[in-house]
Amino acid sequence: MDTAPQDGKIVRIHGVHKFFQRGSERLDVLNGVTLDVPEGEFLGLMGPSGSGKTTLLNLIAGLDTPSQGEIWVGDQLISTMTEGQLASWRTRNIGFIFQFYHLLPVLTAYENVELPLLLLPLSAAQRKQQVTTILELVGLADRMYHRPGQLSGGQQQRVGIARAIVTDPTAIMADEPTGDLDARAAEEILNLLCMLRESLHKTIIMVTHDPRAAQRTHRLLHLEKGLLVEQVNA
């Protein structure tokens, strides 16, 4: 895999284009995005629907590949990786938080958090220690054997966050993490994200429509028609 000096930047995006082909029609979603994200930054992405926020997040998380341009995360060029390489890379480097939590309903909170660890060469005892520590960190030590259906939305999102950070990833991608929560739960989740960023020095890239969430970021980027049109320091 290609490597390059990082200069304190954890994510470097250069001239990224992404288009989708729908029959004969070409749909340009990102039109030459260039962006650097320093390590430990809490970056917010805002913009109207269809502006390309989620697409950009997916590209940085290695869920998709750009049509053109380069994406570096840490010291690795991920834009040229194969699907299999991206999958292994994601396990160790990316934590993903979803708007609708997407926990597996048949598994307990503990088992949901343990899922990504199954892909790493860890013993059962090591996995147990890591999962227990993380669930304590997100304040769910007393709910670890509950299934998602037995947890509130805020608690489910905490499990989702625990699952995202349990592998100690390089960066955390959060796609509207407060979008499905009431104001109080949203506030708790944002506090938790800030706490994680400060205590674990994690880089967080968050897509949001919520102005209160946007206020908590270090830097806020606006995307419109596939272009970064505005940069605001929070």
């Binding site: 989620t54 697409t55 999958a87 396990t91 993903f96 048949v106």
Partner: protein
Amino acid sequence: MKYLKLIFRNVGRNRLRSLLTVLVTVVLVFVVTLVWSVLWLLDQVTTEKSQNFSAMVTERWAIPSRLPFSYADPLSRGAAHKPGDIQPLDSMTWQFYGGTLDAKNFTRENIIFGIACEPEKLATMMDGLNDLPAEQESQLHEDIAQLKANRQGIILGHNHLDATNKRIGERLKLTGIGNFKGLDLEFEIVGTFPAGRYDTLAAFNRDYYNNELDAYAARNNGRKHPLAERSLNLMVLKVPDRAAFTRLASQIESSPEFSNPAVKCETMASGISSMLESFRDLIWGMRWLLAPACLVTILLVIANAISISVRERRLELAVLKVLGFRPYQLLILVLGESLLLGSVAGLISAGLTYGIINWGLGGISFPIGFFDRFMIPTAALWWGPAIGGLASLLGSFLPAWSARGVKAANVFSKVA
């Protein structure tokens, strides 16, 4: 192993669907096991052995075969005349007899079909009776000793014993039917065949039978019974191997002693195959239509259940991909679910089939040729899981392949 818990939980996710899939698979594996059990035994008896060949001598040009009893002695020596001629290792005469317990109202239940033979040959020349478990073997030897000691003794198959409601030690009188009309025999039941292949057969002492054929003439002003000159139906000879069989067959078929009527000598397997010839279409249908149809149905049922499950879980599969699961790991997860369903259903089915048929019903009643009842072989205990597992793997391959190819970015763009 790490994924086993996930596989188990996913199978338990929609319990009703999993239960129905298992039930359908259990029923279909049950049918396949029954069919294969019948075919398995027929294959066993029609497959040539490499050693301890049994040869069968019958009338060449007529069915049913009727040979003079005078053929028995030269045939038991393999028609050997010259030095260097081969002789069989052992021999057994078969004289068929059919009679009923109720001459006025005979039904399938009160008809007994038996063979008159040398009692001691039952233990050495009858397929399946020469390799019994120790306990059954010792019981058979006791019964044979009784048969030798009591010229009017008879060993009955279990079905006859049940149908006639008689017990060992009781007497029975048979009135000859069909070709055996006029030959009424009286017996004392001295034993039973081990349960299974000979449930509908009876065996008795040939000396008594031949005596009764002679006595018929004495009772009818010297007029012999129509079967008197042709009472030997077949002769079974044992030879060490195929080469010996070929020589013996040539010796017997070319011997002038057996020219009127002419005889043919074939291997037991090929002889039985000839007898099963009239069932050829039925056996073909069981082997190539019924069993494959059941297998394809299992495959479709499981394919359908897994397809629905994969369609319902595209989002979860995408989440697993986001977490770092590789495509082949998703393939394994989905195949694992169907393998679990199929093999568990197969195992349950095999166990139930074996238990119900062998212990509960005493075999499958399926009269075909010489055979009336078929037992489920022990091998069927692994057929079930193998059929269920393999069919489910094949059936779920396409849905699993589709799960493998789930594009997380596409799935989440639709959710958003």
